[in-house]
């Protein structure tokens, strides 16, 4: 698995003739030396541009990462005249592990679509000649996956079998090439900012920093991690499924005025717990078991069905008494419902005011969070926006826009945020209580309403009996039978639908058990023995390099590489601001070169290729740059290609490279210059 850049060509055709540059690389350790602002970065960015990797630098499509020299006009280094560019392109010749070469050409300014990349299957730049040519595209969706996508082709050329990873939205995507290149291509714009690398996040890949290192270093854990992510997503999906099933169960029960007890609200693997849940029905002012009530109703119905329909004559006295009793009951029910209505109304008002209060608290919380952010922002925009002292008289200030001294002690922002948050939580609990109370009252209203309806029908039937001729069949008897029949039908229907949902929930419980099992079966130790070996090698390489680079913030022996984030740590804590600027740069050299160092002696997906643009970064001492050259020469000696561009003093570069196997390419002025007729077009 390797990639090596063998030749870089830049061409700009202007009104005053052809400009450009050619850089031939021997495939080992190369130092490209040229003064500041001579266009070194343009040449290195040209490599990224030719390979369609500009999204590594900026998420914006269509932004060309090249300076004006390739886009609009060329400034002649000799005459200092400006010439407008008519057409320009960049081309690179790359080689893979099998020794195959490709020439990749992409236009910068031309009538040709910039998304097109022209590929010739041969060393066109170094050996000339005609080779089979084909056009590929970059940037468009599918560039990484489709046959005519350039990145798909490039990955195959480099022998990379890119894995499928999870995105934040739960969908799958490829681990894009743009997320891997920053690990071995440190360009000057953003490349030096972070360790392990400035990996683009716009592809929305979960844990992209870890995934890219794991793939590049060929960690076994990569597969396990992907499985873990997949399981986590499934677990979350099941949680949602569970909640929605519970909601439909409650809707079924609520519609029939029933309530559910013993239903596990969160997923459980205990199917028996789910089966143990049951329905209750509201009868005669209290909740009782639905099954028992149904059995009683059925028994009553059976009795009525066994009887012949009686005549009204024999029932008159009984009916009169029943009418009186029913009238009293209906009156009582009406009273009860009035009370329930009032209670519900009061609770609704309470809920609305609690919700208003929560809204206000949320707004106030946001304001406080903003105020806190402003505190840190103050230092970047000049004067502090929330000063501790009066900007005019320098008196101590309370952080409040009231007349000073009105409040004895003002809460600090953090305390205030905590205070508002605590209030918000309390009010949210209150609101939840109100919602539950309203739900309960609604159920009671539904049930009493139904009871009232039934009693009114019964009353009407009894009154009909009282005025009917004495030999007529009893209407109240028929009504009672029909009413009970209807009730049994309704309740058993709801019960059956409830059972169906419970079966579904039991299936969920089984899936849940399986998911939890799968999760437990994942190895506790994220990393395999070989992964750990690689990390140990990386650690050792970084430590020994830091010694050579005069790293001073702490002893290199105290540095470790996290098995979790793969970032360097000191005593288990991520290394951050405590490093001096120059030591941050040294650590970055050591890390990037360390990855390559490990790749030289183990089986990884690293292309054994490293580019560093201006590693000095105006920060690290001259002495350390000599150390970097010597380490780079050592690693390149094992068969890697390392390209370092620098504007360091030429004498010190030459001194540092003395006795080292290195190709030194020197430019005294601008890299892009006027070409004579003999140059390739």
């Amino acid at each position: 698995m390797s990639l090596s850049v063998r030749h870089i060509r830049l061409r700009a055709n202007t009104s005053a003739g052809l400009y450009g540059t050619d850089i031939d690389l021997d495939g080992g350790f190369t130092v490209l030396h040229a003064p500041n602002t001579s266009g070194k970065s343009t040449v290195l960015h040209a490599v990224l541009y030719a390979l369609g990797l500009e999204q590594m630098l900026s998420p914006k499509r269509g932004r060309i990462p090249l300076s004006f020299t390739m886009r609009t006009h060329v400034e002649d280094p000799d005459t200092e005249q400006q010439h407008a560019i008519i057409e320009s392109y960049v081309a690179v010749e790359i080689e893979n592990a099998a020794g195959e070469r490709l020439t990749v050409k992409r236009y910068v300014k031309a009538d040709i679509d910039r998304k097109l990349v022209q590929v010739a299957r041969g060393p066109q730049l170094t050996a000339g000649g005609q080779y089979e040519r084909r056009d590929y595209f970059v940037l468009d969706p599918g560039a990484a996956q489709r046959e005519i996508g350039f990145h798909h082709m490039l990955a195959r050329f480099m022998d990379w079998d890119l894995p499928i990873v999870k995105r934040y939205d739960g969908k799958d995507c490829l681990l894009y090439i743009e997320t891997l290149f920053p690990l071995f291509f440190v360009e000057q714009k953003i490349g030096w900012t972070t360790i392990p690398a400035a990996i683009p996040t716009q592809f929305q890949i979960r844990d992209v920093h870890r995934r890219s290192i794991e793939y590049l270093m060929g960690f076994d854990t990569h597969e396990i991690e992907l499985k873990r992510q997949d399981l986590d997503l499934k677990i979350n999906a099941l949680r949602q499924e569970w909640t929605s099933t519970i909601a439909s169960i409650e809707a079924i029960a609520g519609a029939a005025g029933l309530r559910v007890l013993g239903l596990p609200k969160a997923p459980t693997s205990m199917g028996d717990d789910v089966k143990a849940s049951f329905l209750q029905v509201f009868v005669d002012g209290k909740w009782s078991n639905l099954d028992q009530h149904l059995a009683a109703l059925r028994e009553e119905l059976a009795k009525l069905q066994d009887q012949d329909i009686p005549e009204v004559e024999g029932l008159a006295e009984e009916a009169r008494l029943a009418v009186d009793q029913l009238n009293r009951e209906i009156q009582h029910l009406n009273g009860l419902r009035n009370e329930l209505f009032r209670e519900r109304q009061a609770e609704t008002v309470q809920l609305a005011s609690t919700q208003r209060r929560i809204e206000h608290l949320k707004e106030d919380l946001q304001k406080h969070k903003d105020a806190k952010k402003l505190k840190t922002l103050g230092s970047t925009i000049g004067r502090d926006l929330s000063p501790h002292h009066c900007p005019t008289c320098d008196q101590l200030l309370d952080d409040v826009l009231l007349p000073q001294g009105t409040i004895e002690a003002v809460m600090t922002l953090d305390e205030n945020i905590e205070y508002i948050d605590a209030q918000r939580r309390t009010f949210e609990r209150l609101a939840n209580r109100s919602v539950a109370a309203i739900h309960g009252l609604d159920l009671e209203l539904l049930n009493t309403g139904e009871e009232l309806r039934q009693k009114t029908i019964r009353l009407r039937a009894l009154k009909t009996d009282l005025i009917a001729p004495s030999h007529a069949a009893s209407a109240s008897f028929i009504e009672e039978k029909l009413r009970i029949e209807h009730r049994v039908e309704l309740l058993s229907g709801s019960r059956a639908r409830f059972e169906q949902q419970i079966v579904r929930l039991c299936e969920h419980a089984e899936t849940w058990t399986k998911l939890l099992e799968d999760k437990t079966n994942l190895p506790d130790d994220r990393l395999s023995a070989s992964d750990k070996d690689k990390l140990n090698m990386l650690e050792a390489s970084i430590r020994s390099q830091l010694g050579a680079y005069q790293f001073i913030t702490f002893s290199p022996a105290a540095l470790t590489v996290s098995q979790d984030t793969y970032r360097p740590e000191k005593e288990g804590f991520e290394i951050g601001f405590e490093l001096s600027a120059s030591d941050t740069i040294r650590l970055k050299w050591a890390y990037q070169l360390g990855l390559l160092d490990v790749a030289m002696s183990s089986d990884t997906n690293h292309p054994r290729f490293l580019v560093m643009d201006e590693p000095r970064q105006q920060e690290a001492a001259e002495l350390s740059v000599a150390g970097l050259f010597s380490e780079a020469a050592r690693v390149a000696g094992m068969g890697a290609q390392i390209l370092i561009a620098t504007s360091e003093r030429l004498e010190s570069v030459e001194a540092a490279l003395r006795d080292k196997q290195c190709q030194l390419i020197r430019f005294d002025g601008r890299l892009v210059r006027r070409l004579d007729e003999t140059a390739a077009p």
Binding site: D370, S386, V400, I407
Partner: protein, 158 residues
């Protein structure tokens, strides 16, 4: 009074009273108030505003409900009388701090952003702070001209 004496009898031992800090509303914070003022001025024509308009917009940018209502009134779907407008003393104090910080200058009835105020406001607009307020002011700042504010204050049609 009697109850205090009873309490004093009960708590006869040595006890001390610690003053607890008092919470303050977020818009009463100096940083927040000044930032709102900067955003407000930045959203107005030539980065300057009469005191009346400053009070008008500052009060109405504070809550989601009042922001929506203002949008509706300016879109003429609600009437000026539906808006409740208050003069906020805290805005005057925020203005005093902003002037002392050199972000705002005043010429009698008007407040105007200075060069450094413009820079500070631009920095605030870029950051994700006071985002709702910023979007609101950017949307209505240009619509609510001095004349429109005057009409609304007088409850006239505009």
């Amino acid at each position: 009074m009697a109850s205090i004496n009873i309490l004093r009898d009960i708590y006869s031992g040595n006890f001390t009273v610690t003053e607890r800090p008092t919470p303050v509303a977020g818009d009463m914070r100096i940083g927040w108030g000044q930032s709102l003022l900067l955003l407000l001025l930045a959203s107005s024509r030539s980065q300057k505003c009469s005191l009346q308009k400053v009070h008008f917009l500052a009060h109405l940018s504070r809550t989601a409900a009042s922001r929506q209502l203002t949008r509706d009134v300016l879109a003429r779907t609600k009437e000026p009388k539906d808006l409740s407008i208050r003069v906020e003393p805290w805005i005057n104090r925020a203005a005093a701090f902003a002037i002392a910080n050199g972000y705002v200058s005043t010429s009698g009835k008007q407040l105007q952003l200075t060069e450094s105020g413009k820079k500070a406001a631009a920095a605030l607009q870029r950051e994700e702070v006071l985002a709702e307020e910023r979007d609101f002011l950017q949307a209505v700042g240009k619509l609510a001209t001095e004349q429109v504010v005057e009409h609304i204050m007088k409850m006239e049609d505009f």
